[in-house]
Symmetry: D2
Subunit: 309 residues, 4 copies
């Protein structure tokens, strides 16, 4: 079933599990899928930036996506297809859609600066992959150095009917959600799913501003799913209590560069993946850092049983 | 008394209080000084980036520094003297030292890239201001886009005897503290005070890695002083408990761009300053954002009486 | 007489002459003025990026501007007033207009990215300095890292009646001139003077695309004035012949960073200024580089007598 | 025969010829090879930035490299293998070496900032591809935003015996060549081939500073080969005369972004390739731009018969 603007809940950004020698660990992929489903994921996103996608060969990328698609069954799988050339983007996009993906995610290349360059890029990308493939805008200025205003996002949505979702990870970003929801209230923007990233650092308030859920890879997807659910049920205090309990660790994981090593280390300790290896070039945790993460986990366990390892 | 490498504790980064029409609010400066002293500040830093220094006229900057110097009495005042030209840097540095400043802080200009450019810049800056003025290196890549390795910092310290302190606000930055302290253990780096910034986002662990204290402007300087003290007394759990209670608000204040508006708003609500006005160009909080800050304050008040307003 | 959209010809970007010990060399300012007038300048721009403006104290900047205003008599003087804060921008702008400047030039701060940020900045700047002061947009992405599309420039012009000129130095930039002139032909943009910068590297074709003249500091302002004049008289071949003869030297002077040292060295050799000193931090020419410039001058002298030194 | 530090002369940066519908035009590849050989190329570089390498599928890249290797016979072919992950870099590097490439070229990823990051990256890259493959450092700050000092380049060369060449395209860059040659005179750097890029914009003086030749894709490779040869024969005036005649067109081709369109257009007009098509996303020349290039060609033809079309 194709992705549409009603998508909500939790779409974890899946890491790619590797064995220590750099091969894809397909057994861990299966475990990861099972754990995500148990955590309440309503979909999943693969081949994102934190999925080490640029380090995969085309056939590896396709195989990985196919495995997630199979594992998630009827639930939607979004596949990152960002690429320097539109030929490669089209090839991957069409291949994963054939295999059952629900949609694709497209990040703008870092050189884009002006509003026209950004909207022009998305028009060309849609022309390249085909207007029949639902797609997600990735708005991640900290890493991509491309800044999109709410108006630019609106223009992309309006010009491209196949745009159904925004992966929102601007920082600061709360006002952007309010602005987009404001456009919708005033009737100048059609329905659009907004899932938020940034490691979840502002998920507590993003839900209150109008986000539909989370799309990020924090190593406790259960917490993300719970906060989304609690907020939707209007249980604000409970949502913040749970979120705040996780914030010390979440903040630690959200550090640029070293963050993926933290995430994979916690996922490994939790049994989601067998090894925290990254394909080279990657970053590794020092003993001091591992000690700090362990300490944060032990503190978290007082509030959330799931952190007891 | 000149600043030296034994400096420690809390040096708040002072905002510049303005009246709503953009004039410096000298009454609020006096209040701010009193509150910082009551909070346990062991010094203060003025004319930093979050002090809106580039928006002040030279004579305003000098007058503001002088007022802090007078108010802090025997405690050290560090003055930011970063400037596009060395003539202006020298003029301000010598003027504030004459008036009793303890030292100056110098940020690298954003165009610097290579290790040689960075170390060369500090050599030239010291030549410009004079080798008799103690100075602080500001290491703030997120805003300044200049990246200094531990070795580069060591080289600056070794080449310039008047360098006595590092304002550390790299992100991620914990390993950098460990690396510098490791240099000292192995005897390749002389004593150096390390105070940490970044809004305090990692102060809990920075102290454990070997920082001497905090130099940042979070709107609860009391918490910063307490965490520094508790960690130095070995009361790790208490330090983390207090820190974690503040983290939801601290994280909100640490957002780029809008952060200063949050900080000034909380300082205003706490009575540290009369108005949260910024000199133009500045950013303002929306009603939604003010509501979120108020909510975070009310939640914080359950753990820390000082947040009860 | 205030600057307006009919301005044309040559506005040299004036360097600030310093003595070897870093003081402003007012004698050389007078010589420079005389030589610019003799070269056919129809105006002049002071306190630009290549004028080392950020290294001047406010009173020095004002005195320098005043001297140029006096020296240029009835001809328009444009003063760069770019500043981190609007208070300083306003102070300098109003002060130089009182002393007889024809208008001011405003560069966008490097952090601006989106179209809205850029147009918003100019609205605020105009509010700050006052809508009665004619101003010039500086569009210089290579150095300022701000990219303005033709539509953004049009919006700034349309929103701010006091905007009368574009200093164009995008690279590549020829299509931008054509786009703006196209807007005017289709009636969506009011008259606007376009003077081009970038050291003159594309002046030959910029005139053919519709530029009104040059605003740049190449050390042979006579050539710039001649090319502008020849192109306006329809003497295309002569314009290109003269331009091409200068291109080897012009290209050498247009190098980032070291370019100002080349320019000041040639101006010194030509007797426009007494010393090629820059205020610190600056760059100096090696003996090899000076030899190369001398060689280029000797080769140029075969085509242009004015290079015979 | 593997590439070594004695390489010199002209290594054109080969564009990838496409048919208008985006397929690789293998017939034009053969023509291009024949023309490069006739122009005096002593080698060739394929899959560089201006070769649109990131837009090719892995198998296309390999096939293209293989065709150039076959066509160049005993002359060395360098293959660009820059990639986000070391697995892909290794796969391509080993595959092209098996097919007879002489060496590979590695550009640093744009995120690298400090000297340690840069030298560390090259150590890891060599570990990944194997120490038996001769490699070229690509030093191109304008596009890659990574700045390497002469000392960093020396360190890479000294740490990695398989480093045999520098593709030099810093801007400004003349002093860098002098610094590296100075290291060699003082005995702190082993022999290293230096070929220069940047479209050839400073080839005239680069040869005088000690470059061994050119590695760039200007659409008149004959001129590049001639200037290299004339300078090596000590015929300085003739070298500069020829270079200066080409400079107006060369400067036009060297514009960022649009430059490849200019280059492919001229190569098409000269019969080197059948179409100037770029694979998407690409840039196209306007009619005005084509007219300007045609005009520059006609002017050049007065000095260089080869421009008569």
């Amino acid at each position: 079933m194709p992705l549409d603007a009603t998508a909500s809940g939790l779409f974890p950004i899946a890491p790619t599990p590797f064995t220590p020698d750099g091969a894809i660990d397909h057994g861990s992929v299966d475990t990861l899928i099972a754990r995500y489903l148990a955590a309440g994921a309503t979909g999943v996103t693969v081949l994102g930036i934190m999925g080490e996608a640029p380090k995969l060969e085309p056939e590896e990328a396709l195989a990985l996506a196919a495995r997630f698609i199979e594992g998630f069954g009827a639930l939607p799988v979004i596949v990152g297809v960002s690429a320097p050339g539109f030929a490669a983007m089209r090839a991957l996009a069409r291949a994963v859609m054939e295999r059952g993906a629900a949609g694709v995610m497209i990040a703008p290349p870092p050189a884009l600066r002006t509003d026209e360059q950004i909207t022009g890029y998305y028009r060309q990308a849609v022309e390249a992959i085909g207007a029949d493939i639902p797609f997600v805008i990735q708005d991640y200025p900290l890493t991509l150095s491309v800044q999109m205003t709410p108006k630019v996002i609106r223009q992309i949505v309006e010009e491209n009917p196949s745009c159904v979702m925004l992966k929102h990870e601007d920082w600061p970003g709360l006002e952007k959600i309010s602005a987009l929801r404001g456009f919708q209230r005033e009737g100048t923007l059609r329905p659009l799913s907004i899932l938020t990233g940034n490691g979840g650092l502002f998920l507590d308030f993003e839900m209150e501003r109008g986000a539909d859920g989370a799309m990020t890879g924090y190593a406790f997807p259960e917490m993300l799913a719970d906060v989304v659910r609690l907020q939707r049920e209007g249980r604000r205090e409970e949502a913040h209590d749970l979120f705040d309990a996780h914030l010390p660790l979440l903040r630690y994981e959200q550090q640029p560069g070293v963050g993926l090593a933290v995430r994979k280390y916690v996922l490994m300790r939790r049994g989601f993946i067998a090894s925290d290896a990254q394909r080279k070039p990657g970053t590794a945790l020092t003993a001091a850092a591992r000690g700090e993460v362990d300490y944060l986990l032990s503190r978290l366990a007082r509030h959330d049983e799931r952190a007891r390892l």
